[in-house]
């Protein structure tokens, strides 16, 4: 863009402001989208009273949440209890720094972009554990422990499938990965990796059918049982923002990022392509949530360790062999 250090600072600040604004608006929008999608799948309209098509429903709900009393249980570990919701939101925001929204619309095009996103997303697990432990509640602890086990188990095949793509492109820079999908999207070259990534992404964000840590009928509400008011709101919003991040990463890695099909942009700006693809993926994730029942915890772990990991390892091996041969 510009020249000199000054323009770099301006770019950084503008990027920061845009990221914060965008992430909040996006979270609000996604909550509305989830309720509408859920409603229509369940033969009912969803929110429609507040604002046109119920669009203002989330804002009103947010205001209501802010007005609620913030209760801290007396035997809880106060510092950890209050830190946990903040801790869960921060790493998600960091992920926005490296996402390729358009050809020149990356805040910081780091050469370890992919690594950054996944390194920071693991922080979220720490926050969940902190929240569950600090609540001093058997249900919350059970939920947090399950969440940690689930996240660790599904992190491995997630990273392995991403490694297959990185191996093909020979770089971890997002812009390079997107650029090399000009002729053909990687989803067609690496369908197994793409599917594994999508499944593991659903598990990483604790969405159904992998939502044992939070929406268990018997565990009340899992690790965020004892959280009230806006603290609960933070956990809630962090989940939706996380969903956006993993979908955006999937778009960049497998679905061509901001490129149109076969490189033809058809006159539509790159950022629109990117957002459309991301939101379609988010819609698919939501669709899956309202269709399937929940997997039992031990079946979930079996699935990861006995099916996903061997599959993704095999995929990586095959990719390496094919690259060597070509």
């Amino acid at each position: 863009m510009g020249n000199g250090v000054g323009s770099e600072w301006i770019r950084l600040i503008v990027g920061l402001v845009v990221v914060l604004a965008f992430s909040q608006l996006n979270a609000l929008f996604l909550v509305w989208l989830e309720r509408k999608v859920a409603g229509h799948i369940q033969l009912r309209p969803g929110p429609k009273e507040v604002g046109p098509f119920g669009l203002l429903q989330t804002i009103v709900d947010g205001i209501k949440l802010v007005g609620k009393e913030l209760i801290t249980p007396r035997p809880a570990d106060r510092k950890l209890f209050m830190v946990a919701p903040v801790l869960v939101f921060m790493p998600v925001l960091v992920g926005f720094l490296v996402l390729p929204f358009g050809p020149d619309m990356i805040i910081r095009d780091m050469n370890i972009g992919v690594l950054l996103v996944f390194a920071f997303s693991t922080f979220g697990v720490l926050a969940i554990l902190a929240g569950g432990w600090a609540s001093n509640n058997k249900y919350a602890l059970l939920g947090a422990v399950r969440s940690v086990a689930q996240n660790i188990a599904y992190e491995i095949p997630l990273l392995l499938s991403v490694m297959s793509v990185v191996l093909m492109v020979n770089s971890m820079t997002f812009s390079q990965i997107v650029n090399s999908q000009q002729s053909i999207w990687f989803i067609f070259l690496q369908p197994v990796a793409g599917l594994i990534y999508l499944i593991c992404a659903t598990a990483e964000t604790n969405r159904a059918p992998f939502d044992i840590p939070e929406a268990e009928s018997e565990l009340v509400a899992g690790f965020h049982t004892e959280y009230t008011g806006m603290r609960f709101g933070l956990f809630f919003l962090a989940e939706y923002t996380n969903m956006f991040i993993v979908s955006a990463v999937a778009t960049s890695l497998f679905f061509g990022g901001w490129q149109g099909p076969f490189g033809f942009s058809l006159g539509i700006p790159g950022v629109v392509w990117f957002l459309v693809k991301t939101y379609v993926l988010i819609f698919v994730i939501m669709w899956v949530r309202w269709t399937f029942p929940r997997i039992r915890f031990d079946q979930l772990m079996n699935f990861s360790w006995k099916v996903m990991i061997p599959l993704s390892l095999a995929n990586l091996l095959v990719t390496a062999v094919v690259i060597k041969l070509i």
Binding site: A38, I41, Q42, L43, R44, K138, A208, P209, D211, I212, A215, E216, S217, E218, V220, W290, T291, F292, P293, R294, I295, R296, F297, D298, Q299
Partner: protein, 373 residues
């Protein structure tokens, strides 16, 4: 330094309260679970939160006044309980019921059975995490409630039957609505089977989960679809036919293993058989009066006792009436199927995982207020 650390926690059994306030609603049930990690070592249900004293009320009300009570014990099979109570008193007092009324009562009871199973289906899959089939099942159930509302005046707890018949005749629209409903329900089976029965996650959560053996079933007095899923084909409508059930041609679905998946399949198949009964009853519906003549305003059955059994949506239900010749019963005892169905879980839940406990509790279809009476 070493004193600051606690003893290593080895084999510590902790007690968890599956409390009276429960997201997976079956009524107000509290189960004290002793857990070893995630495995259940002991399960002790605590009931009685909904005890209203129906049996004591039975001794202080005339036979007609007790009619609303009968619906409110198991509110999901309200019509069937109503029907059974009326049949018990009619048998004791020797009141004959005209044919048209018999057919109407059978149609309404079977509609009630379908609506109870639909509600069970929706809530069971919701307990397992699939929220959507609940709304589809309730969509179908609303139609039944509309049909029964038209003819009896209430949606859930009916007092439609009277000693000697029914309170109000049905019109042509009732018949047409019921036929349309049966046709629509049959078209939904494929949806339910594709969405739930063939879903691999659902199958993994229910196959070989919560197996009730035949011995356990016999020891605890399990009845209804739970018993039939174990492989014992006992249905009161076939074993002790009441009303005119022996005129209708229907089958009793029987399972094999007695696990949650079998219980699920048996109930779904039972709904289809109920549709068959309804269709046959509608085809054979004769003209005539719907109320017997000369039924006394205050029924006074002769001295003695009677045990009348019928098949509610949950299983073998019985009214045990002891009469001393007065207008109020001397003793009115109700044998409820959920009593045995819940009691058997004390044994079945041992050694299962916590997550399976919810699946098992849901699959035996217990309604706590009928245990509490």
């Amino acid at each position: 330094m070493a004193e600051k650390f606690q003893e290593p926690v080895v084999d510590q059994i902790y007690t968890l309260n599956l409390g009276p306030q429960h997201p997976s609603t079956h009524g107000v049930l509290r189960v004290l679970l002793d857990l070893d990690g995630e495995f259940i070592v002991k399960a002790d249900p605590v009931i009685g939160y909904g005890h209203r004293g129906h049996e004591k009320m039975g001794e202080n009300r005339t036979y007609k006044q007790f009619m609303p009570n009968s619906s409110r014990m198991d509110y999901l099979s309200g019509m069937i309980y109503n029907h059974g109570y009326v049949l018990a008193v009619e048998k004791m007092a020797g009141i004959q019921v005209p044919e048209r009324a018999q057919h109407i009562r059978v149609i309404c009871s079977e509609l009630n059975r379908i609506s109870s199973h639909l509600l069970w289906f929706g809530t069971y899959v919701m307990d397992l995490g699939g929220f959507t089939p609940f709304l589809y099942a309730f969509d179908d159930r609303e139609r039944i409630l509309d049909i029964l509302d038209r003819v009896s005046g209430s949606r859930l707890t009916y007092s439609y039957c009277r000693f000697g018949g029914v309170s109000r005749d049905v019109d042509v629209e009732f018949i047409e609505m019921t036929r349309a409903f049966v046709k629509r329900l049959r078209s939904r089976w494929s949806d339910y089977h594709n969405l739930v029965t063939k879903n691999i996650i659902f199958i993994h959560r229910t196959r070989d989960v919560g197996v009730i053996t035949k011995e356990q079933a016999s020891q605890y007095g399990v009845s209804g679809p739970n018993l039939r899923a174990c492989g014992i084909g006992y249905d009161v409508r076939k074993a002790e036919p009441y009303e005119n059930y022996d005129q209708f041609d229907f089958e009793i679905p029987i399972g094999e293993k007695g696990d949650a998946l079998d219980r699920y399949k048996v109930r779904l198949e039972e709904m289809e058989q109920s549709c068959r009964i309804i269709e046959q009853a509608l085809d054979k519906l004769p003209k005539g009066p719907v109320m017997a003549e000369k039924v006394p305003a205050n029924v006074k059955p002769p001295k003695g006792d009677l045990y009348f059994a019928f098949e509610s949506a949950r299983g073998l239900t019985g009214y045990y009436l002891v009469s001393d010749g007065a207008t109020t019963p001397y003793r009115l005892h109700i044998r409820v199927p959920s009593f045995g169905n819940l009691h058997v879980l004390v044994e079945v839940l041992k050694g299962t995982l916590m997550a399976d406990a919810i699946s098992i509790l849901g699959s035996v279809d217990v309604v706590i207020p009928e245990i509490d009476r």
